[in-house]
Symmetry: C2
Subunit: 521 residues, 2 copies
């Protein structure tokens, strides 16, 4: 019985406010009725291209209104969304598409060339839909033509535990794995966002963070559930964002602290009228008091809210609500990730899986409607993290007496740079392939702009050719995304090791983090 289905938002909107603006993307404005109609036609087009119930359809594009139409058209037609990380290399993307058995991929102008490469190196990819503004490239189907050529089809009404999306997340153990999220998961995640106040009645939301990320995806779904208008910019560019807030009277936005910093420190900030902006939600890392103070002074109408989460939880796990940003007496909580969001239960567990006392560091385990179905085709990796209904997040943290969670370290040494997760193991694997490298360790070090910067500590092989940090960076760029490549490199004679031979990253990090506590997660 279909009780929880993501397309419900469109059905409700059609009955209550078909004329309201659904999306604003550049000069393009579409009402909910237009959005609904285009979705139901595009769903027919995708079915015509071979999308059968449960089939994955990839989306590789910058932010646009079409990105949101694709989400709903895929669900409407019975498919499963497979949003692709736009920062990955061709090889990484091809791997994820093949792992996901994705045969249809939608791309925009920015990724049309890459799509041609993908067609060659992907085993599964058969059909490419061109969702750019101009004419479709050779061998691709035109998105707009699919809409024009097809009558609206009936909603396939996949629901509840049916898979709605497979989201690839970077693998510490090597290759990325697909997080399977059901209709109930994604709906539950959007409901958490609503219950925690990321979106209010009448909000105008702005998509500036990348849409392929579920942080923005959950925000989009929450806006749809509330029947709000959504403004879309292709990606985060400070001027575009400031203009959009001013022009379209944006009231709510989801960012990462780096983006907040780029906005509030923008030299032209005072020239924009930004009083409509009342809700700024951010994630990926905490905000510093200094930045928060500047932000509150320069965006006086805005209230700030932090979320911590992970894709496997659809994604919100904890929320630090505005009062802990705006009331000085609560400032002690600002370095925390907040408390379990409404509808989410969390506990901190030791290696034995039992809850540890307050103040003791352990792993964050979470339970609730957002817990993923599992990793696509990876029952062993699923079983390793999903135990008794608890998602074991891999994030190390302690909880205080009031339930606030302080994330202290990624169990597997994740670095958060500009809001992107960088897994040190992946970078180490790339560096380690350089013929001159004997050993290496990758850590995050403080960076005023990106939160953390990727830093490599390298031991060279005796007698090997002399190499520089630039050599290492260039070497990595051929294998992994630019943002994962080390921004700084230091050479040593040896790495500090534990008695069992593991690198002591805490020792490597220590000199860099003397002045401020490090938090990753």
């Amino acid at each position: 019985m279909p009780t929880t289905y993501l397309t419900q938002a469109l059905h409700r909107a059609m009955r209550q406010h078909p004329g309201r603006l659904a999306t604003i993307c550049g000069s393009r404005r579409r009402s909910y009725a237009e959005f609904y109609n285009r979705v139901a036609r595009l769903a027919g087009g995708l079915q015509q291209l071979g999308m059968a119930p449960g089939d994955r359809v990839g989306i590789l594009a910058l932010n646009s209104d079409r990105f949101l139409e694709l989400y709903f058209a895929i669900w409407w037609g019975g498919g499963v969304v497979n949003p692709v990380n736009i920062r990955w290399s061709t090889r990484e993307i091809a791997y994820s598409l093949d792992d996901c058995e994705t045969r249809i991929l939608a791309v925009d102008a920015s990724f049309a060339a890459l799509a041609a490469d993908l067609s060659e190196c992907s085993r599964c990819l058969r059909t490419i839909v061109y969702a750019g503004d101009d004419a479709a490239r050779g061998g691709m189907f035109s998105y707009e033509q699919l809409i024009a050529d097809h009558e609206p089809v009936a909603d396939a009404l996949r629901a509840n535990d049916d898979i709605a999306g497979i989201f690839y997340t970077g693998g510490t153990t090597g290759f990325p794995k697909g997080v399977m999220l059901s209709h109930a998961n994604l709906h539950g995640g959007a409901v958490v966002a609503l219950l925690e106040g990321l979106v209010h009645e009448g909000d105008i939301g702005l998509h500036a963070a990348p849409m392929f990320h579920l942080a923005d995806g959950a925000f989009a779904l929450a806006l749809f559930l509330r029947g709000c208008t959504q403004v879309i910019v292709p990606g985060f560019q400070p001027e575009r964002v400031l203009e959009a807030i001013q022009e379209d009277r944006v009231s709510a936005v989801v960012l990462v602290p780096t983006m907040i910093q780029m906005l509030v420190d923008h030299p032209q900030l005072a020239a924009y009228r930004l009083t409509s902006l009342v809700r700024v939600s951010y994630g990926a890392s905490p905000i510093s008091e200094a930045l928060l103070d500047r932000a509150m002074q320069r965006l006086p109408s805005a209230r700030f809210l932090q979320c911590y989460g992970q894709t496997e939880m659809s994604p919100i796990v904890t929320v630090l609500s505005p009062q802990f940003h705006h009331e000085a007496r609560h400032r002690g909580k600002l370095r925390s990730a907040g408390r379990a969001a409404l509808g989410v239960e969390i506990k901190i567990v030791g290696a034995d899986g039992r809850e540890v006392p307050r103040g003791t560091v352990g792993e964050i385990a979470a339970r609730g409607p957002g817990v993923m179905l599992g990793y696509w085709n990876r029952p062993e990796q699923t079983a390793a993290v999903l135990r008794d209904g608890w998602m074991h997040t891999g994030d190390g943290a302690y909880m205080d007496e009031e339930g606030f969670v302080f994330v202290v370290d990624r169990v597997k040494d994740m670095i958060v740079s500009g809001g992107e997760n960088v897994y040190s193991a992946e970078v180490e694997n790339a560096i380690g392939q350089h013929p001159a490298v004997a050993a290496c360790a990758v850590i995050g070090i403080p960076d005023a702009r990106w939160g953390e910067a990727v830093h490599a500590v390298i031991v060279c092989k005796p007698g090997a050719a002399r190499i520089t940090g630039d050599d290492i960076n260039a070497y990595c760029r051929a294998m992994i995304a630019a943002y994962k490549c080390p921004r700084s490199v230091e050479f040593r004679d040896a790495l500090p090791l534990t008695s069992t031979g593991k690198v002591l990253k805490t020792v490597l990090r220590e000199p860099y983090w003397k002045q401020q506590p490090r938090r990753v997660g």
Copy 2:
């Protein structure tokens, strides 16, 4: 995998605010930690009394903190709640307990005597728990002793589609039937209440409406999810309610319009300090403009919100939000039941099950997380109302262009005369305005020419001038279309009523339809 479970609210509360007040009942105040501890012990006690996973446990009591503890203890111990309508006769209660196969029943002082009768006439009932303030009556187990004698047990963690409660409803159609609601249903219903703003962060809620009703039950669950404090009075008595609001700084309450009227017209109203009361949600019927105006004047801090629902939907279906009460320009919507609540989809369907045009009367069908699992042990009656995931509510209504729903009648009470639909409520409203009429009910009776003819059953005011059927017909013709006016009238001393005060139209119809079955819908 347990993702949605009603006990989550207690687990979260224990981690975040164990010291906060959970319940205030007379002079008794219990923190969340105490509530949690008592629940986990009582669960052990109920298991000791034989409550196995999925077993129903009845609750027959006035409102109290123990009523709420019982809800959670039954879930915690793996059972299913079976709240009993306190207004039913012993025979009706015994029928519902036996139908539900309820072997354990908790009662308070008000129902201890009735429980003794039940033990005799119920086939299933084995064990009675006495949850009054004084010593347990002979043959009953003491609630407080069960708590004292048992250690806390582990949460049984029934979840998702597991049945959480069986709520008996009906009586107008013969014997009551049990509505099976799952953990996901009841959680979904509480989430709808939160999303629609019945409960806000920091609210102090007051239970004045009867707790056995899911209207109050969903309010309670919403308060628990937000970690609020709940004030409980045994039942609706205006002075007790006014005192509780003043003494405990109550901010949110759920009532029916009659209760609102009794409060705002209370002669001592001005003597109470009621400025803490900011949210008054009401259901069961719309509020008149005259009463709303008085209420807004006399409770100036309160904002009003209407809900329409039914137990089968867990229970909220539509909401008329405060703006439609407080902004004069929206007053045209005040006679409506509002719009589909966030998370609920509704449509108005004709006899063929297809959606009818806006403005056309049909049956309200609803879909969403609250749709019941079905009627307990009644697959045919379940299949009659649950079709393609839609709950067919049996309520007749039309929807306007903005999605507002105007309820006109129960579908089964609709009269079809000469191909025209006649809504009994409309005819009753007309007749009811005649100065000699105390009460009336309008039904359809067989008619060779018109299929059904409009027939009125009238109770006259004592001492009123003698009136005839012709007088009534003439009176109605001044107000409603001729085909809606009663073709026949009978006068009686009283109308047959259910325990909740609804007219038993089945009883009125029965003598007329002995020879032929009546077609409904």
